[in-house]
């Protein structure tokens, strides 16, 4: 093994010499990569304290706006309910039946 090892060492010593040129902008590129990484480090802070609350507020606003827009108060229905309470004669048949049922129910309660 030692003889082989010495020959291998000699062969390598004679053939390992390299003249590898350093790229001209290498240092600048390393600094550029480091600066990019440092900038990225700042993003989580910005995300948590600025973008996060802004997104949450926007979302709440959107939900509120949507719910107001899709479920408006039905004024006709309110009017009908009020008028039927005041004058059962003016109501339609089915509404009158509903009211009769309510009257029956109340009288039943009184009896007990």
């Amino acid at each position: 093994m030692n003889k082989n090892d010495d020959s291998l060492r000699n062969f390598i010593a004679g053939n390992k010499k390299l003249d590898l040129p350093k790229p001209a902008n290498e240092w600048r590129e390393i600094v550029g990569r480091i600066e990019t990484l440092e900038t990225k480090k700042g993003w989580p802070f910005l995300g948590v304290w600025i973008v996060g609350p802004a997104l949450a507020a926007g979302l709440i606003g959107l939900i509120t706006f949507k719910s107001m827009r899709h479920e408006p108060l039905d004024l006709d229905a309110v009017d009908l309910i009020i008028s039927s309470q005041l004058d059962p004669e003016d109501t339609t048949d089915s509404e009158a039946e509903d009211l009769d049922f309510a009257d029956d129910y109340l009288s039943l309660l009184d009896a007990t």
Binding site: L8, I12, G14, L18, K22, E26, I30, V31, R33
Partner: protein, 160 residues
Amino acid sequence: MDEFHAIYIQNENYVRKCLYWLLDRELVNDVVQEVFVKVWQKMDQFENKSSMKTWIYRIAMNTAYDHMRKEKKYISLETIDTAHATTEIESTSIHQELLKRAVGLLSAKQRIVFVLYYMEELSVQEVAQSAGISVGTVKSRLSSAREVMVTELKKHGVSL
């Protein structure tokens, strides 16, 4: 940044040479950059337990290892014709190419210890520190790597 620049100036040359033997040629310059970006990121973890050089070797070896695991076995020694080398310069450059390709035949783990020991001429202890393995493991990997290298080189007419 001045201190880091000095570290880069002192160390980039051997890191580049080492990576040349470990990786595909086109990758070397990019990986040199990657190594020094990691050196910058880990500067505060350097504890003077080993020399700065050994510490940087270790970062370089880990980075190279990540790349080596991804690479395909791309090397064929058959394409190199040592018999037709006429001048000494031609012969040296052919032997250099042969050596590079033979190193490429080693497994990633063998290659690391082989390059550190034979090309960089580190001691077995330094190789162990740089590669993050035990002295015994270094010796066994060196032994198997040596076997592969000698067989391959002999096969292509190198007298060892």
